[in-house]
Symmetry: C2
Subunit: 332 residues, 2 copies
C-alpha cells in the first residue's frame, strides 16, 4: 500500500509543496476526528519542527456548535478523514474555503464530500477499510502527511527515508507471531497508559485508541512530560505502561522515564530499536527495521496494532467489529 | 480568592485587552503543562469563539527537544504556570520574546521566572498552593483567562457574569457534605471516563487529572464527539462515566450522549444545573448556582474537585500528598 501511495501521490505532493513554498501560509490548521486526529497530531509536530510555522489542531465544535468563524484566510487547512464523510470536518473545510484559505483533504475515498470540498485531495489508496478500527489508513495518512511536510520543507531525511518504508513495514509485520505470543500475558489487564514524546506522541495516542476500540480497555496516552505532571501517581506495582521509543531526539528522555517507571514496579512494554531501553523493559517489542526518526511513527504503530489485534482475540472479542461502533461516525 | 482577583487584576486586564484590540495578533499560542494546560484548553476555545482568531496549544517539546523555532512574531503567547517555574514553558516564552511576539504570563508567583520573563503578568493571588494537586489556582487561571479574552472581545456575558462568580463558588462549595456522601459508592471503581464538549471539555480534562492524581485511578477525558469515534466501545454495564453538562450550547448533545451511555448500562455521574439531564443520571451532582455558559468552567470543576478529594479519603489516600509527585515538575 505504501509503495503504491509513494508512486501515485508523489507528483501531486511535489506540486502542492512547491506552491506552499511560493506562497507560504501564516499558519497551518489541522481538522480531524478519531484515528485521523492522531495522524493530525503528528502533522502538527512535523509542521512546527520542519517548516517553522505555527500549527494548530482545530476544535471543530468551535465552528459547528458555537458558530464561531476563526480567521482562516491566511491558513493552510489540512483536513484528515478516512471516510471523507465526518460532517464537522467537512463543514470546517467549507468555512475555510469561504474565507479564502487553502484547503487540502487527506482521505481514502476519492468521491467523498471531503474530496469534493477541498481544493486539493491526497488519497490514501488503501482499498476499503473493512475493519471499524482503522489501521492501514492510519499508516497511509501518516505517510502522506510526512511526505507533504517533508517535501514542503525540503527535509532530506524525509525524501531519503521514504523508499525504505515499504520494506521496513513488511519486516515489522513479520513480527506478528512473536507479538501474538506476548498478548496472552495481558489477558486480564484492566487498563494501561501509553507514553512517548515528540513525533511519536501521535503513535502513543493511536496505540491507546486501538486498545480502547478493540480490547475495550481504558488506555490513555500521555506525553512523557505530562506524565510527570501528575498522572504518574496512578502507576503502582504491575501497572502496565507502553513506551513508544524509537531512536531519535526523545530517546534519552524516554530511557529515564522507563527507569523511573521500573523503579515504581510498573509493567513496562517498550517498542524500540534501541537495545539499552529494550533491555530495561519487562516486555520488549523490538523494531527490527529502524528508519530515520521522522519516519518512525509510520512503523512504530505496527507492533501496537498487532498487540491490540491479538489481545482482542485473547480476550474473546472480534477486533474487526467492536461493539457499539460504526465505520463512519457523524458528529456535529 | 476570586473576589480579590477580580478587584486586583481588573485594571491591568483592561489595559492589556485594549492593547490587544488596538494591535491584534494574528494568532494566539498557549503554552502550559498539567493542570495549567487544562486551563489553556479553555483559553483556546474562548479565543477562537470570542475573538475569531485561531489559537493553538503549543507542544513545548518542538522547541525544547527538536530545537525548532516556530514563527511567533505575530503571535500573542499566553503562558500559564501556577509555580511559574516549568522550564519548558519559560523557555518557550523566551523564544517568543526573542522573535518579537507579545508574551503574557499567568502565574501564582509574582517573583517566578515566568513573571520575570513575560512582558505582562496576571497574578492568581491564590496564596500558596500547599497541596500537590492544584485546585484553587486552576479556578484562578480559568477566571483570569475568561476575563482577559472576554474584555478583549467585549463579550458582555463575561463582564456581566463575573460579579456573581464568588457567590456561585461559595454556594457550590457548600455541596461538600452531599458530595462526600456520594464518594463512597466509588470506593472500588477501577477507572472511569470523563466527557463534555465545548468550553467544558477543559473541565473534563481537569476532573480526570484530579482523579488520577489524588485517587490513582485511570480516568480519561474525551470530548463527547471523540467518544463516539471509537472509545465508547469500552463503556459496558456499570462502567463509570462522568458527564460535565452545565446549561449552554452543548447541553442538547450531552443529553443525547447521556441517554446513549444509559442504554449501554453505564454508571453516569452528571454535573449540571439542568433538571432533565440530572434526572437521567445514575448519580446527579447538581450545580446549585447556575452562571452564564462562558463562566461555567470556573464553577463546574468544583464538584469534581470535591469528589476527587473525598474519594481519595474513602480509598485511604492523602489527597494533598500523592505518591511520586512533587509540587513543581521540571521538564524540558
Amino acid at each position: 500500500m505504501v509503495a503504491r501511495l509513494l508512486d501515485a501521490e508523489w507528483p501531486r505532493l511535489r506540486r502542492l509543496a512547491a506552491r506552499l513554498r511560493r506562497r507560504p501560509p501564516r499558519l497551518v490548521v489541522f481538522v480531524a476526528r478519531g484515528t485521523s486526529d492522531n495522524a493530525a497530531t503528528l502533522g502538527k509536530y512535523l509542521v512546527e519542527s520542519l517548516t517553522g510555522l505555527p500549527a494548530s489542531l482545530a476544535a471543530p465544535s468551535v465552528v459547528t456548535l458555537y458558530g464561531a468563524r476563526p480567521r482562516l484566510r491566511d491558513a493552510l487547512v489540512l483536513a484528515v478523514s478516512q471516510s471523507g464523510r465526518s460532517t464537522d470536518v467537512v463543514e470546517f473545510v467549507e468555512e475555510a474555503r469561504r474565507q479564502g484559505g487553502l484547503t487540502v483533504g487527506i482521505t481514502n475515498d476519492a468521491r467523498s464530500p471531503l474530496a469534493r470540498t477541498a481544493h486539493e485531495t491526497l488519497l490514501c489508496r488503501a482499498g476499503p477499510e473493512r475493519s471499524v478500527a482503522a489501521t492501514k489508513t492510519y499508516v497511509a495518512e501518516v505517510a502522506l502527511l510526512t511526505l507533504l511536510v517533508g517535501a514542503w520543507a525540503r527535509a532530506r531525511e524525509v525524501e531519503q527515508g521514504a523508499g525504505a518504508l515499504p520494506d521496513a513495514l513488511a519486516a515489522t509485520l513479520k513480527m506478528e507471531d512473536e507479538i501474538a505470543a506476548r498478548a496472552e500475558r495481558y489477558r486480564y489487564m484492566q487498563g494501561c497508559l501509553v507514553t512517548s514524546r515528540g513525533y511519536n506522541y501521535a503513535t502513543a495516542k493511536e496505540a491507546a485508541l486501538k486498545l480502547k476500540e478493540t480490547c475495550y480497555l481504558p488506555a490513555e496516552a500521555l506525553s512523557s512530560a505530562d506524565l510527570l505532571h501528575g498522572p504518574i501517581a496512578i502507576v503502582e506495582r504491575d501497572f502496565p505502561v507502553m513506551v513508544i521509543a524509537p531512536s531519535g531526539v526523545p530517546l534519552a528522555h524516554l530511557r529515564q522515564i522507563t527507569a523511573r517507571l521500573a523503579a515504581r514496579g510498573a509493567e513496562t512494554m517498550v517498542i524500540s530499536d534501541d537495545a539499552e531501553i529494550l533491555a530495561r523493559a519487562k516486555v520488549a517489542l523490538p523494531l527490527v527495521a529502524p528508519v530515520p526518526e521522522v519516519w518512525s511513527p509510520a512503523v512504530a504503530i505496527v507492533p501496537a496494532q498487532l498487540l491490540s489485534l491479538h489481545l482482542a482475540v485473547a480476550r474473546g472479542f472480534d477486533p474487526d467489529r467492536p461493539r457499539g461502533l460504526r465505520k463512519v461516525t457523524f458528529t456535529r
